[in-house]
Symmetry: C2
Subunit: 309 residues, 2 copies
């Protein structure tokens, strides 16, 4: 299970009720932040997220509404005397962006900041642990823009108590070992293997983040079988021509991608300043005609993303 928290759901210019791009995922106590528009660190705190839990920051592209909150966020971590390791991923140039601010303002980091620059030659898999991996794909925007997906590794299958009873597995530590993928030897010298008592492996959660893009192959690849697709939905369906000209998507673009890619839940976000709060219900309806499980994100809204059953 991963918590999805929208920090800012607007684009270009902040509104009184809508901040600039920033989306957090909270997984097993670690925070993944996608984009960092101005004000993201304030929204981060308003959402009750702890700066000390921030581990990964992903910047999609060099437009201010996705970027200009980054220097403040990084210096605030420093001033809070945190000593964590933070991995920052972004387009080539992100290291110089940080260095420029450090030189101008004469600050350093006592925490460990690993900067990972991405260009068109960077392999799709950016980061891999035993529990999850992060991949990127190019988006279709007015400048080099990254989409991201976080995919958990499959989890072991469900423990079949009846089958374990029938095989004579005692109610003890043997069951825990089997659940964790280890074979065990019973008192009667019978060897029991995990596949005998576990159901088929269960899929982990996959979440795709594709903001500032018109429909494109990279988005489809990231969205494939995602449990949650956080999708550019800057404009209503009626403005599709303008949306595509400016490297954006509409409600119905997002819904069509979600439908084609077998997505579980679609989150529309990155709304234009011309979309008021009262417009959101009709925007969601446009998407639901094509893909029923669509939701319009609002600032500080929080969702739990569960794996497929």
């Amino acid at each position: 299970m991963i918590d999805l928290i929208f920090l800012g759901t607007g684009s270009a210019v902040p509104l009184s009720h809508r901040n600039l791009s920033g989306t957090a995922l909270l997984r097993k106590g670690e925070i993944f932040l996608f984009d960092c528009g101005e004000g993201t660190q304030m929204q981060f705190r308003r959402a009750g997220l702890k700066p000390s839990k921030l581990r990964y920051v992903f910047i999609s592209h060099f437009h201010g509404d996705h970027l200009f909150g980054l220097p403040g966020l990084l210096t605030s971590l420093q001033m809070a005397n945190l000593r964590q390791v933070v991995h920052l991923f972004g387009p080539k140039g992100i290291a110089e962006y940080i260095r420029f601010h450090q030189d101008l303002c004469n600050f350093g980091f006592d925490y460990v900041l690993h900067i990972h620059e991405i260009d068109e030659h960077t392999p799709a898999t950016l980061w891999q642990t035993s529990e999850f991996h992060i991949e990127w794909q190019p988006m279709q925007h007015r400048l080099f823009t990254l989409g991201f997906a976080l995919s958990e590794a499959p989890r072991p299958g469900k423990f079949d108590v009846q089958r374990a009873d029938a095989l004579g597995v005692p109610n003890g530590p043997e069951r825990g070992k089997l659940q964790n993928g280890e074979s065990v030897m019973l008192a009667n010298d019978a060897q029991i293997h995990p596949h005998q008592v576990l159901g088929p492996p269960r899929a982990g959660v996959k979440i795709a983040y594709c903001i500032d893009t018109s429909p494109c192959a990279g988005q489809e690849q990231l969205a494939r079988n995602a449990d949650a697709l956080i999708a550019d939905s800057t404009f209503p369906a009626s403005e599709q021509v303008w949306a595509h000209q400016t490297g954006h998507s509409t409600t119905t673009d997002a819904a069509e991608v979600a439908k084609r890619c077998g997505v579980q839940q679609l989150f529309l976000t990155h709304f234009s300043g011309t979309v008021g709060p009262a417009d959101l219900p009709s925007l969601v309806e446009e998407a639901r005609v094509i893909f029923p499980n669509a939701i319009a994100a609002t600032d500080l809204a929080r969702f739990k993303i569960l794996p497929k059953l």
Copy 2:
């Protein structure tokens, strides 16, 4: 009369109830912005200020809590398709800061942005019109830091109706001309000069902005006879040693300057994150022992600054 609006009254790290440095003056429909920490453009809108009225921006120094909101503010003016003239004043290096962001994010300005870089050789008077002038002085901080003062030119004296009646000035356009400083000829060929019907010239409003400084000569010069002194008051009196080591002032430092310089009203601001909202009354009391007319600024608080009678 000038409106003084506090946009952010914190320092270093934003709190949920306190934004980073930003202070606006509104004078005859023109806005003067002093410092632009992250989130200033959002606070600007929350205060009901119109971006189209922004004319002058002053950056005191290159610490993020005074600076990192500037790229977002300037790009938002562009995206709003405004066509005004904006004058930006800041330490030498501010032009490169803007240019770096323009190059990285590939944006231009269709409005006119005049950048005025200041170094130790820059004359004290930065800007002069027939109605007001702006001066700067160096502050005492950990890096080159500017304090500012806006001083209105004296206004013509009060029109003395009884004296005008006695001199035979008719109730017509002659009185308006005299009020505006012009001599007039009456029907009986008598010439009347302004000084015959006007009281002594009345002082304009003076407002001094001295943030991120320990007590210093530059601050005293700017604060001299100010109607409002917006003063660094990062720490309570008990932390004076630490305050001065870090280039800051305490409540009592600010009050002593206000007292020595004949200030009308003292506004304490730029509070440390260790100062909670409940601490403000005791901080104000510390200052009032020395200088009774002291107020603790809070975000979005608005004051009218009147000239001396």
